[in-house]
Amino acid sequence: MSEHGTLGDGPGLQHQIDQWRTWVSRRDAISPDDVAELEDNLRGRIADLRAGGLDDEEAFLVAVRRLGSIDEISREFARVHSERLWKQLVLVPGSPPEADRRRRDLAVLLALAVGAGMAVKALLALGDDRSFALNVAFAVLPFLAAYFAWSRSLPRRVAGTLAAIAGGVALAVNLYPFATDGHGTATATTYTLAAAHLPVLLWFLVGVAYTSGAWRDHARRMDFVRFTGELAIYFTLVALGGGLLTGLLLATFDVVDIDVEPFVQDWLMPFAVPGAFLVAAWLVEAKKSVVENMAPVLTRVFLPLTLVLLVAALVALLAGGPLTGVDRNLLILMDAILLLVLALVLYSTSARDPEAPAGAFDWLQLALVVAALAVDAVALTAMVTRIADAGWTANKTAALGLNVVLLVHLVQTGRVLWRFVRERGTFGAVERWQTRYLPVYAAWAAVVVLVFPPVFSYT
């Protein structure tokens, strides 16, 4: 139609079409190409209607009505293209500059993953269980930190500081004269404690790299929390897939009587596990906003269930008479419960809209926090006298210290949540408390790693 050429002359009409396009584009089932196609129809219809004597405004309104209900069209599109309602993760996007960047990112990451694998392999080659447990985190996490340093162009000063801290800690724990049983096997509990707390300390340093040095920033800290949760889930999924493949590999070679187990143990695992970890981290970075976060979804499922578990535990503790098994195992159990509750609260916090008013779910969170505190209080009161009697071993001190750290976190979480559900405080306060307290965990881990061994004379 020759009238096509005159279209777009009226700025009012152009504006109306732009608004219409924005409105239609919001539907998940209607792709940008479909919008272009519908717009072509709309413009054709408007041109014909104007040629028939209608003015811009009337022509637009009639053409939109002729197009029909966008809801119905969207439903029809969804029926034809049901896959569109599932968010698709495009690992290497179509547009050239973005695709190049993503490919370069992946190449760097894969190189770092191989590096981590070689570091782990070299560590294993020492054949020393003791130094392996102490150093495995040093063999993997610096490569992840290096990836962040690269992808975020970390300032040299920050990178230098991080490397110096990590190096200093590595030097200290490797030079500590932990007690051994004479055959070189470490028997010192402070050694086990240090090995268990080291990854927490190093993870904090990774977090500093993740936030490109702005680790004091509340929002960036929350991003790192989200990243950590998603990484745990993606790593688990990648590991499950890897485990399945390895099982099939072993079974297949078993059929033809070739023993691949040494290969799997000595070569595949040292490279595959750190590799899976780094690739999972890359996936989380790549997906970020495209795919819904899983950790908050899981917390929604498990929060009510955990509340039931805690209430049952409380009843059992109170009804079970004198607590007989009061030892460090009970302390560790309590620590685990508090950690679980805090993780649930932290991840449901990370996904909540801070502007939304308090709802039933916030009350549920508060109930969970209160139940966890009650369980911990019962267990602790029963334990305090016994610990005083039996003296302070490294294990008990570590477990009790962690319990105190968790308790402070939980009590204050309960307070800000209470203020929020009573409409005396904002949800922002709940969020900020969560992120503000996080470095305390790193500080406690540092104490256990660096201060405990000398204090408990390396036993």
Partner: protein, 119 residues
């Protein structure tokens, strides 16, 4: 006039395939052709044509290509594929049976009422 939804749905595919058998067209041109063929008495909801075209494309009955309109905008053109021609032949045979039967029914009824209903 208003035509029953089910009837539109049933006749849309053979109509679109038949119109495309005449030559490649873009969506809006197909709609205008339907208008012309029915003398303006059959008005589809414009937007619903596109999900139908996509379904036909997915089933391999039509092939779509992006081109440009006279005004230089992106425009999708549809063409019948060999499979589409086959489907059209099948549909045509089916519709001929139906319309033949209907025709006999109509001719057995008093003329004015039938004419009114189908005007």
């Amino acid at each position: 006039m208003r035509i029953d939804k089910d009837l539109v749905a049933a006749s849309a595919t053979p109509l679109v395939l038949g119109i495309l058998a005449d030559g490649d067209l873009h969506g809006y041109a197909i709609l205008k052709r339907v208008d012309e063929l029915s003398g303006g008495r059959m008005q589809w909801t414009d937007g619903m044509l596109y999900p139908l075209l996509h379904r036909l494309e997915r089933n391999g009955l039509v092939r779509a290509t992006w081109g440009l309109s006279e005004a230089g905008r992106r425009r999708k053109h549809y063409a019948l594929t060999p499979a589409g021609q086959e489907a059209l032949a099948q549909r045509r045979a089916q519709w001929e049976v139906v319309s033949d039967a209907l025709h006999q029914v109509w001719s057995a009824l008093p003329a004015p009422r039938a004419a009114e209903a189908w005007a």
